[in-house]
């Protein structure tokens, strides 16, 4: 009689470890497979989320394989799961087992990025005292007590020159609207969102507690973020660790400014613009209308909808630490999204997240579509029109 190469007896100890790491909710899964059906990975390759859930229940997870690092935490599966299983939390728990126990290799680029964030407070491993260099020539003050708003651009626009334009545009808008704001200095760290999703809970907590204490010391009451990831973390995760300040995404704040007549549009943008809903703004925080209303306020601009929009938005592929990992050509969600925007006849694909911007910029370059479509942040479009 043939014997199986793999043990089929449930490994209770392993299942217990997964539960302890925060994956207990997978017990609720009844294996319907909805998660697999809605997961964007299955548009480009097999990724059987249902099977991971089952193997997790049995304690038979392949920790050395690639699967546990694939999830981009887009939350599509969680939104559709009939049993309310927080599948993203389960993926996070599996990664946490690897990170905390050291039982398998963490993908190189992700591992090094987390070490960069842990050691220098930013994913690129740059010097903390260069955090505000992006705004050196913009006459912007560092945040100090008594200032109304802390504008938090996210490490990516701060340190990566290729997407700096979204933060510089935001500064132009805030200045023209007469907003009393300041920017983060060297004591502020990465919000830690990607670190947490990558399974390094300890580093996340250290970053969060440090930011919370620096914000409290500086008297920060209201933070406007460029990134939906920072926004989500500040709004939904920092309060549990003692964070006591209001977080608002830039697209929401821009709409406030428009409604208060603090922005005067003086130029038309006669272009067809498709808006890409970022996962952490849309599915995680139900913010769908504000970015669209901001875009529709711009004179001349024609907003077109993409086929997978709002609750069904197609992830750019950058969440869950995936932004730090290489995704093979032919498997990039961002390529599909750019194709969708081109098919919709859009001249511009508008983004509200630095990760989306990085991914779409890369896709446009590698697909050689730079002559057909532009990737612009909402802030750039607004800044251009005022």
């Amino acid at each position: 009689m043939e014997t199986s190469a793999h043990p089929v007896t449930p490994l209770k100890e392993v299942a217990d470890i997964i539960n302890e790491a925060g994956g207990e909710i997978l017990k609720l899964c009844y294996q319907c497979g909805t998660c697999t059906a809605v997961c964007p990975w299955n548009r480009v390759r097999d990724f059987i989320v249902r099977r991971i859930m089952h193997r997790g229940q049995l304690g038979l997870i392949d920790f050395e394989g690639e699967d546990i690092w694939l999830c981009a935490t887009c939350n599509s599966c969680v939104k559709r799961c009939p049993r309310g299983v927080e599948i993203v939390d389960v993926m996070r728990a599996l990664r946490r087992v690897v990170t905390e126990m050291g039982i398998a290799r963490i993908p190189d680029s992700l591992r090094l990025t987390i070490k960069n964030i842990s050691a220098t407070g930013n994913p690129l491993g740059e010097a903390p005292d260069k955090r505000a260099d992006w705004a050196k020539d913009l006459d912007v003050k560092p945040y100090s007590e008594g200032t109304e708003i802390l504008y938090f651009p996210c490490c990516i626009p701060e340190y990566d020159t290729s997407v700096r334009r979204m933060a510089r545009a935001a500064v132009n808008i805030l200045k023209k609207a007469g907003v009393d704001f300041g920017i983060p200095g060297s004591r502020v760290n990465c919000c830690g969102e990607s670190v947490r999703k990558a399974g390094d809970e300890k580093v996340f907590e250290r970053l969060a507690r440090s930011n919370i204490s620096v914000f409290a010391e500086m008297g920060v009451k209201k933070v406007v973020t460029s990134s939906p990831h920072c926004y989500h973390t500040f709004k939904n995760e920092y309060p549990g660790l003692g964070g006591d300040f209001e977080a608002i995404h830039l697209s929401q704040y821009l709409l406030e400014l428009i409604r208060e007549n603090r922005l005067n549009f003086t130029r038309e943008i006669n272009k067809k613009v498709a808006y890409h809903d970022p996962c952490y703004l849309g599915r995680y925080n139900d913010i769908y209308e504000e970015p669209r209303q901001v875009l529709e306020s711009i004179p001349g601009l024609e907003l077109v909808e993409l086929p997978d929009c709002r609750e069904n938005s197609l992830c750019c592929g950058g969440g869950g630490g995936r932004i730090w990992m290489e995704t093979k050509s032919g498997e990039r969600f961002s390529d599909m999204r750019v194709e969708q925007a081109l098919a919709a006849g859009a001249d511009v694909l508008a983004v509200a997240c630095p990760y989306c911007m990085l991914n779409f910029d890369d896709s446009v370059t590698t697909m050689d579509k730079g002559n057909f479509i532009e990737i612009r942040s909402i802030s750039e479009l607004v800044s251009q029109a005022i």
């Binding site: 050395e64 070490k115 964030i117 842990s118």
Partner: protein, 269 residues
């Protein structure tokens, strides 16, 4: 085939994968200052030394004792070799070991190895990733009067001798050495194994043995800072300067020609 009694020296170091921006030098004290987010790890070369020992154990059985020296060693870090498959962990952990150099470290480790007594093979990394001196392994061999083979990539042991593939500049040579001997292991041995969940659970049941200087009969004047034979004159970070010159030309061909001329002038091509 007889079981091999092995000792592996494992050093706790700052994570060598931490970014350069997390390292600063305090010029007054001639010391490195690390940002708090840099974690401690087992030196990657030492992990490879352990991997070499584990392969000998896999092949013919044996016992592996891991020896770590330091001050305030972190339990979560130094226990890792146990979860990878080592049998026993001895920590030389005491304030008196602080500030040592290669000589005083080799002295303390050699005294501990004398106390362990029965061994066939001692493994060290070819160097440690923090200072890259590569002197502790050879120093222990000298102090214990043992034959030494450096930069090993493969080891088989038995019948009172070990056969070692030793890395050279243009390949490797096969060296036979009588036991007991000390072998320093190079990165060419390959990736060290990851701990298994079973290994981690087994390791939790093992308590490390802690030895103080008196336990190993070490003279206080020969350990830690007191035993240093190296004097740090100056510690500094070299300044990297980059200069960029844009080579112009009226056409791409001319620009290339100008570039090649420049490279030739600089004797690069």
């Amino acid at each position: 085939m007889t079981a091999v009694r092995m000792i592996v020296c494992c050093k706790q170091v700052p994570d060598p994968e931490a970014p350069p921006e997390s390292f600063r030098i305090d010029p007054e004290r001639n010391r490195i200052v690390l940002t708090p987010g840099v974690s401690a790890v087992i030196d990657p070369y030492a992990e490879r030394a352990l991997e070499a020992a584990l392969r000998v154990k896999d092949a013919q059985g044996g016992k592996i004792t891991v020896l770590s020296l330091g001050t305030n060693l972190l339990p979560d870090v130094v226990r890792k070799p146990l979860s990878m498959g080592a049998d026993e962990l001895i920590l030389l952990d005491d304030e008196a070991f602080a500030g040592g150099d290669s000589w005083s470290t080799a002295y303390a480790l050699s005294m501990a190895i004398k106390k362990i007594g029965d061994y066939d093979l001692i493994f060290c990394g070819r160097q440690a990733s923090d200072w890259d001196a590569g002197q502790v392994g050879p120093g222990i061999a000298e102090m214990l009067g043992l034959p030494l083979v450096t930069t090993a990539r493969k080891i088989t042991a038995g019948n009172g001798k070990a056969t070692v593939d030793k890395i050279t500049d243009d390949g490797y040579e096969v060296v036979e050495v009588s036991l007991p001997a000390l072998i320093t292991v190079s990165n060419e041995v390959g990736e060290p194994r990851y701990p298994t969940i079973k290994g981690i659970m087994g390791a939790r049941k093992k308590e490390p043995v802690i030895w103080k200087p008196d336990d190993i009969g070490a003279e206080s004047s020969r350990i830690g800072a007191a035993g240093c034979r190296t004097k740090m004159v100056k510690l500094f970070q070299p300044v990297h300067e980059g200069k960029c010159e844009i080579i112009e030309g009226n056409s791409p061909d001319e620009a290339i020609a100008n570039l090649v001329t420049k490279l030739r002038e600089a004797r690069i091509v």
